[in-house]
Symmetry: C2
Subunit: 441 residues, 2 copies
Amino acid sequence: VGKNIIEPRVLKGFRDFLPDQEMRRKKIENILIETFESYGFVPIDTPILEYTDVLLGKGGGETDKQVYRFTDHGDRDVAMRFDLTVPFARYMASHRQELYTPFRRYHIGKVWRGENTQRGRYREFAQCDFDIVGTDSISADFEILLLMKRSLEALGVSRLKIHVSDRNLFTAFLKNLGLAEHSVEILRSVDKLQKIGKEEVVSLLSEYTELSAAEKIVDFITPEEDWHQTMDKCRRLLGGDSRAADRLDFIYQLIRDLNIEETFYFDPSITRGLDYYTGTVFETFLTDYREIGSVCSGGRYDNLTSLYIKEQLPGVGSSIGIDRLITALEHLGVTDFAQPSVGVLIFCLDPGYISYYHQIAEQLRNKGLTAEVYPEKKKLGQQFQYAEKKGIPCGIFCGEDERQTDTVNVKDLITRESFDKITVEKGIEKIMEIVSKHETA
Amino acid sequence: VGKNIIEPRVLKGFRDFLPDQEMRRKKIENILIETFESYGFVPIDTPILEYTDVLLGKGGGETDKQVYRFTDHGDRDVAMRFDLTVPFARYMASHRQELYTPFRRYHIGKVWRGENTQRGRYREFAQCDFDIVGTDSISADFEILLLMKRSLEALGVSRLKIHVSDRNLFTAFLKNLGLAEHSVEILRSVDKLQKIGKEEVVSLLSEYTELSAAEKIVDFITPEEDWHQTMDKCRRLLGGDSRAADRLDFIYQLIRDLNIEETFYFDPSITRGLDYYTGTVFETFLTDYREIGSVCSGGRYDNLTSLYIKEQLPGVGSSIGIDRLITALEHLGVTDFAQPSVGVLIFCLDPGYISYYHQIAEQLRNKGLTAEVYPEKKKLGQQFQYAEKKGIPCGIFCGEDERQTDTVNVKDLITRESFDKITVEKGIEKIMEIVSKHETA
């Protein structure tokens, strides 16, 4: 046998989820789902494998190298999805006739990228996207921002700032400075403001423009005291009308009308780097764990489906990095999402009574409780250990004495209190008491 | 633009899920999860990609050709999981020290096989496995059988038969006949009894043995009136003691003690073909849709982790083919799992009131309702159509007249009843009435 043993190893950047981790992840997902659905968002799903040209387009850029791509049995060039946005675009194009607009969708699923794992990144990770497509209304932009706030609140995170800008604001400003042709490089440099500071950004920018313009750019993207002051400065530096500034101000009016302005922050440095956004853009930072970066980002796009169909389909959406968020929730100790087991273990004192144990378990389940039968006669210490490992707060014991008198012993496994030789009915009542005591604890 | 358009096609054997389909799937999964958890089963997850030798062993058999397998960026030979059993075995071997036994796990996830799609098979499909490992007790076998019944009942399927046998029963019988060396071929032939009938099986078997033995084999695997009669015949044909028969009889005793014998059927023809089972085996047939085949099958295995570690880890488990089950539920019309939308649409009569609409929506959500704001001014007909497409039963209308009198109009979109110019508070009350009326309908 020994020579055939295979080491049970897992690929670098991939993970198993132990039961507690998986329960926490599911709990978090369920809270998000409940929030999304209360806003009328509906779930979709797409295949994990797609034709490579459908996912990457006919060209293929820098990030494409990270894509898991291969030739399948039918000689098709296929790839594993690397985000939930491209498959969503393909999905909308495929099902345009079956779907209505405005279409509010959410999608929680895993994606794969062959990233460098040294930066603590995973190659298999979960994303959670929510979008409204088929409308370019400001109401939709606002709704996504509101839902970002409400989703994080539902998870117990209330100390957060959502940084908002409009990509057209900055590009219009660059155009005024005559720097439109360098906008990609400048956007890339400006995106680093939070990380490397003003001076470094000025120095990066001076590669493309003279010092005074570089300083002007940094001035433009530096937020002032509050939304209005920042906006006044941007409008002044822009000189003239700006549809982007008007849209942002309208969004802010909606924010104030709903009394949630403490969460929102106009931050002209937010440009979402090289992404495909064409309007409003936003990122979310946790007040007590800023270092982890944005936990929820997104923006408005002109045309989701341009790769596949001619019809224009504008939209706005946001994406939660579930793994990063879970790390943050753990760090903040916000809530314990591991579902407390509030069950009952029926100890096995005599294997001859095993069907009786199963009958009691079924009665408990019918009352809505989780109930397990220890399946065989092992030392009691081992059975107690099992209950402890699983966090089961309640035990039922029934040996020969009890069976012959139609009674059971019930034990609170946490306080160690015992209630001996009571009827099964009384025992179930007692268990309900113990369980609800530990639930509310 | 036209020349760069990519056809938004999906790979053969792969599927998108439209919102109603995805909601139904999630609802079914959640019902299963709730049932599993009431029996103390806990969720796990494993990577979708693994080292190929970890999934396939060092050899590679017939089914391996169907595995999606490729070389990754780091020149690793990797494969996508093709079931949830092999990854579970690897998982138990990897985490043996962190986990307790008996370990009750469930795992719902997608798997991939490059199957022939002409037989209506998918290449990406969901499985749902539940197992108890670390015990060879009969109690565990029984618990899996009970949970199979309860899971399907929870989904509204009560007319079903679970066919049970023990693989050792048949192999002992073959050994008695001196046919042990042909057991693989004979198991394969016998497995076809349901499909091709007695005579054809006898003719297949006569390739390996004389006619009288072939007839004896078919006699052995043909069930009689009830459990006891079938068992009596098997014991007679076996001649002598049989541990497998004793185990089966003990399982049946538990089944009768729990008064669920109408669901279970001793069927010695069940052998689970070439699978790795070593004891109890079972398949589930729907009384009103037998043709679809088994919707939930499994069995006992001696040693889950033999490929990876030396410690013996016996267990018993079952697997629900979710896709097949959903097809069956649809066919039977058992329950409509599409969650009825019980929400409210706030119609957009005047975009100037959009923040007021959002405020009303937030009030409704705080009462636990699903509420949506139509994000822009479109023709009312279009907005009504949207509500109809999404099955939203309730509308709120607020134009200039209403806004100036601090009132709203509420409409039951199904009965078309209207409640005009009532206060927002009254309106919310009215909506709660309408929604609960349609919920109970």
